[in-house]
């Protein structure tokens, strides 16, 4: 393993993307085999990189401190491994699910390009290449969403691009300020206190990170994409990739670049954002009537846990947040893949139409169940471990309100998954859907793999905690504080864990109540919450997209431009029309007229020019 091999995770996917793009559409099998094999190769390399865990490669690029700097260390190796793993699962899954999609070559190309850019972003040790790769992800995401081919796919793709672009712009601004403060662009060399100008940089970069991760209020493209984009794209990017990258960056910001202190203003801001995201998104998730949209809102909500955990600035909280990142990636990916499996066989993901699929699709059902229980934080799965760590951290900060918000979130999470699972897999057999079989193996293998990992990371949590998480926190805790989280990870008999269990019970009761009230229709089980007095108005407003900053932003801009148009633009336009354009046109016209094609004229200009130049030189000589 030599240092330049660090380029492999970036260049190999690019090469594969080009190859896949060029293979003619008829030879499907070749393309799929190449994709899966390539992802296996990348996974192998990611694994061997992880075992080495320390490698840097630096090449001067633009001067002025802008270098192409790649650094493999425990955190980036860990993320790299995660990225490679998800790439493999998605590639495998796509061989079946994306078989007959138009533009499938582009799909695979974009997927591999996304992997390349993501790998590049993770490995970058210098802000400029990092930003370059980060931006590239916007383009591939745009492309991937448009592959969905639905009526609104283009619009949603543009929305994701603009929201992402805004967050990226904020990040670039933050990086620029940071550069001005520290004078360096190398990630591993930066560490400042977040006060004054640095605080502004901190916030800007945090916006960039959480925007990428899909937190509120930059999340509004995700539920739209759930319908408009292919489900594999949902499983790959919002579920897995973006969380990994966004939270990786957030962790670097709060641990490496800036030293975030517990209960400082900035930490509280982070925790608030986290808590708000948890609660608001899960409220939206609860009332969804489409399986995929429900999952997408949960993806947003779970990011809140990660942000909350990292915002606590307490070791156990931070560790919990980061652990939650990888856990979430796994179970959310699994959940999306299982929804894709259902869609693959049944042709729909509307909860109303589905039901009772547990007998016909047992493996999907099992995978779904495990992942759903994991996301709800049921003992002893991975979600329980990471959530408990976050709760502990939140409580440790002293601000109980955040923990309360997180618990409310936990209640509604479980309730919504009870609703979803009940609607799809339990209950009476939906009549709108014909008889189906279980999906093919490339579909259920990834689901089961992820489910298995959820179980593994929960029960044997020592493995991920020791290998992945604890090294990240080394050096960030006071000497003497031990970093062993796994010892009490599965402890249930402490107040916090008991409250969590209590939340699960409340959720179960809520679900059963709603189910009974709605005449034993599972998909209406969330109606009591939906129709609850104050909530109802808020929900209605949300339906009208009042809370979607993108929509509001567009509306505001339209309004603003209307005002500007009447007040400012017309007058300027008149001036411009009569003044500038006329002058400009006059200039152009004069110049055009001057170019008569007449040789003598041209000669005269040349000689005139000579005289002018000679005159000027002689003047300057004096």
């Amino acid at each position: 393993m030599t240092a330049p091999m660090l380029l492999l995770p970036i260049l190999l996917p690019v090469a594969i993307a080009l190859v896949v793009l060029l293979i003619p559409s008829r030879v499907k099998a070749v393309r799929e085999v190449i994709s899966v094999l390539a992802s296996i190769v990348l996974l192998y390399f990611a694994w061997s990189f992880f075992t080495i865990k320390d490698l840097t490669w630096k090449v001067g690029w633009l001067g002025n401190g802008v270098d192409f700097d790649l650094r493999l260390y425990h955190f980036s190796a860990f993320i790299l491994l995660g990225l490679a793993g998800f790439l493999f699962l998605i590639a495998l899954y796509s061989t079946v699910k994306m078989k007959n999609v138009p533009r499938v070559r582009e799909y695979y190309a974009y997927v591999f390009l996304t992997a390349a850019f993501a790998n590049g972003a993770v490995l970058s040790n210098n802000f400029v290449p990092l930003i370059f790769f980060w931006e590239g992800l916007l383009l591939t995401l745009y492309g991937l969403i448009t592959i969905g081919g639905k009526k609104d796919s283009n619009r949603t793709a543009v929305k994701s691009f603009i929201l992402g672009g805004f967050c990226d712009f904020s990040m670039i601004l933050g990086v620029a300020i940071l550069w001005k403060i520290t004078g360096t662009l190398t990630l591993s060399e930066i560490s400042v206190k977040p006060e004054g100008l640095a605080a502004a940089s901190f916030i800007l970069m945090v916006v960039g990170a959480i925007g990428k991760a899909g937190a509120m209020p930059f999340h509004t493209w995700i539920p739209d994409a759930a319908i408009d984009a292919p489900v594999t794209v949902m499983a790959f990017i919002p579920a897995a990739l973006e969380k990994l990258l966004g939270i990786y960056f957030l962790a670097r910001i709060t641990l490496d670049f800036f030293v975030l202190e517990k209960n400082s203003t900035l930490a509280i801001v982070l925790m608030t954002i986290g808590a708000a995201t948890i609660v608001l998104a899960v409220f939206m998730a609860l009332i969804q009537k489409d399986f995929k949209r429900l999952l997408s809102y949960h993806a947003v909500s779970q990011v809140g846990y990660m942000i909350l955990g990292i915002g606590t600035a307490v070791p156990i909280g931070i560790a919990g947040g980061i652990f939650h990142m990888i856990n979430h990636a796994m179970y959310k990916c699994g959940l999306f893949l299982s929804s894709g499996s259902v869609e693959h066989r049944c042709g729909t993901t509307e909860l109303k139409k589905l039901g009772g699929l547990r007998q016909e699709m047992p493996l999907t059902a099992f995978g779904f169940a495990v992942c759903a229980l994991a996301i709800s934080g049921v003992w002893p799965l991975n979600g329980f471990v990471s959530k408990e760590m976050v709760f502990h951290g939140a409580v440790e900060t002293g601000y109980i309100i955040f923990a309360v918000a997180a618990w409310v979130g936990a209640i509604l999470t479980f309730a919504s998954f009870l609703k979803a699972g009940h609607s799809v897999f339990l209950g009476p057999r939906g009549r709108d859907v014909p008889a189906v079989k279980e999906s093919e193996s490339p579909v259920f293998i990834p689901i089961l793999t992820l489910a298995g990992l959820c179980i593994l990371f929960g029960v044997y949590n020592k493995l991920p905690l020791k290998e992945f998480i604890e090294p990240i926190l080394e050096g960030h805790v006071e000497a003497g504080e031990h970093l062993d989280f796994s010892a009490h990870a599965l402890a249930v008999f402490n107040p916090i864990a008991l409250i969590s269990v209590g939340c699960l019970v409340i959720a179960l009761l809520l679900h059963l109540y709603g189910w009974k009230k709605a005449g034993r229709k599972a998909y209406l089980a969330s109606e009591p919450v939906h129709k609850f007095p104050v909530l109802k108005q808020i929900y209605d407003l949300a339906e009208k997209r009042i809370f979607d900053i993108y929509e509001q932003g567009i509306r505001f801009l339209k309004g603003l431009s209307g005002i500007l148009f009447k007040l400012v633009d017309r007058p300027i336009d008149a001036f411009y029309e009569k003044g500038v354009t006329a002058v400009g046109r006059a200039f152009t016209g004069v110049l055009r007229a001057a170019h008569t094609g007449h040789y003598a004229n041209y000669l005269a200009w040349s000689i005139g020019g000579l005289l002018a130049v000679a005159g000027i030189i002689s003047l300057l000589l004096k």
């Binding site: 030189i617 002689s618 000589l621």
Partner: protein, 493 residues
């Protein structure tokens, strides 16, 4: 070996008319393209040879007796040789299909090779008079090439070009003669030392003015530019590409830079004059381009504008400015040739050059549309294409030197540039397909290959610009700067 750069094209040009009698199309195509491939290989070979070394003045010998042929190969000339070989290759590939209907292909290739030989010679000389001679070689070939189509417009354009160039050559010769008279020598080093020893500011100033007329006309700086908008559109598309992409740069910018920066030294007065000429060209030509309806005329004016950028960067005189100017020279050579070649494709497909008559061709000619877009965005300076980086470097150099007004104007001119290029794209390729063009097809194979190659080079140079800058442009800029420092400081103005 270096002499091959000049000898090979000349020799092949000599035998091509004879070959042309035997095989009308195939052998000439093959021979001409083979020459360029050999030239490209030679460039890399020589490049590795002089990598990191000082400039090499090679003295040739024939059968043991030293011939008095000295060739100067430094980073700058190698860089230009590379550009000439690369773009020349693309052009000759394009010509395989495009020149089919002009007839007498072998003669075309022969003239083209003579022009290339002249350019290469100009790039390698060590002597003022030899600059003049090889400039004339390339120029005479180009007069004939502009008139190749034998139509009324072409002949008229060629004639005007010839007459204006003749004036330029005359003044060039006058300047060279004056310098010879004063210093008694013609080769760069002796002249440089001679001028430094003498206190002849006014004479040098006068010669500088003559050279600016001469080389400025070749480079098409305003106000010496007027021949270009007539000559370039009338010429067959590959020749327009060669003229805009190569000739104005080699016989104009390169010669100007060599003489002013390595022989005279770039004094503040000269720097000011060059920068103003550059900025005026930039703006005036951009304004003129906006008013055009003929796509090739618009591109021709754009060439003038971009040469303004190059001269602005080089005229600034700082290492970064020179770097930016040279890099922009390379990028513009790639992109402008690409655009002119595509205009040829358009002309071949639709029979017209008027933008208003085209429309919606993107659907029928997708490759041409995409490559034109790449070329346009490159020249307009849109990241991450190559033109963006070179323009950025020039603007940064201007800011670093404190020339804020120039930098601002350069940025505004960039906006103007983007505007008229988007106009081209919109009028020709986007929008509804004009009924007339419902049955046009994409350009033939070699034309497509050539333009795709250039487009890929634009993209690659943009993405890997650091590598390109470091391996090719920086040695060139260093060579120029070193020459500048040797010559500077001694002329008193």
């Amino acid at each position: 070996m270096v002499f091959l750069f000049i000898a090979l094209p000349l020799v092949v040009a000599g035998i091509l008319p004879l070959v042309g009698k035997v095989s009308k199309k195939f052998l000439p195509d093959l021979l001409a393209n083979a020459v360029f491939i050999v030239l490209l290989v030679l460039v890399f070979f020589e490049g590795r040879g002089i990598a990191g070394q000082e400039a090499a003045v090679r003295e040739l010998s024939w059968l043991g007796e030293p011939l008095n042929i000295r060739l100067l190969l430094d980073g700058f000339s190698l860089f230009m040789l590379f550009a000439v070989a690369l773009v020349g290759f693309a052009i000759s590939l394009f010509s395989i299909d495009y020149m089919d209907h002009y007839g007498s292909k072998a003669n075309f290739y022969a003239l083209f090779l003579v022009m290339i030989a002249g350019m290469n010679g100009l790039l390698l000389v060590t002597d003022l008079f030899q600059i003049y001679v090889f400039l004339e070689v390339a120029a005479v070939a180009s007069y004939a090439l502009v008139a190749f189509g034998l139509g009324h417009d072409e002949l008229e354009a060629s004639f005007k070009y010839l007459m204006l160039s003749a004036v330029a050559s005359a003044f060039l010769l006058a300047g060279i003669v004056l310098i010879f008279g004063v210093t008694g020598a013609l080769d760069f080093e002796s002249v440089s030392q001679g001028l430094a020893a003498l206190d002849s500011r006014f004479l040098v100033g006068l010669c500088a003015a003559f050279f600016i007329l001469g080389f400025g006309l070749k480079a098409a700086l305003v106000p010496f530019h007027a021949w270009l908008p007539d000559a370039h559109p009338s010429a067959p598309a590959p020749i327009s590409a060669a003229l805009s992409g190569l000739l104005i740069k080699v016989s104009g910018v390169y010669a100007l830079t060599r003489v002013f920066l390595n022989v005279f030294g770039l004094t503040p007065a000269l720097s000011t004059v060059l920068m103003y000429l550059g900025i005026i060209s930039m703006v005036v030509a951009a304004l003129l381009a906006l008013g055009q309806t003929d796509i090739k005329r618009m591109l021709a004016y754009s060439s003038i504008s971009q040469v303004g950028y190059i001269v602005l960067g080089i005229g600034l005189g700082t290492p970064l400015g020179i770097l930016g100017g040279l890099f922009h020279l390379f990028n513009h050579a790639l992109a402008k040739s690409l655009l002119f070649l595509n205009s040829g494709s358009l002309q071949m497909a639709t029979g017209t050059r008027k933008l208003d008559e085209m429309g919606g061709l993107g659907k029928r000619m997708p490759v041409t549309s995409v490559t034109t877009l790449v070329g346009s965005l490159s020249i307009a300076g849109v990241p991450p294409l190559n033109g963006f980086w070179s323009k950025l470097i020039i603007i940064v150099a201007l800011i670093q030197a404190g020339r804020w007004a120039f930098a601002l104007i350069a940025v505004l001119a960039s906006v103007l540039t983007l505007w008229y290029y988007l106009l081209i794209q919109r009028k020709a390729f986007f929008g509804k397909l004009n009924e007339k063009w419902a049955s046009v097809r994409e350009a033939p194979f070699w034309m497509t290959v050539s333009t795709v190659l250039l487009a890929l080079l634009c993209i690659a140079t943009g993405i890997f610009f650091a590598g390109t800058v470091n391996s090719w442009v920086r040695p060139a800029a260093d060579a120029v700067v070193k020459g500048l420092q040797t010559a500077l400081g001694s002329l008193g103005f």
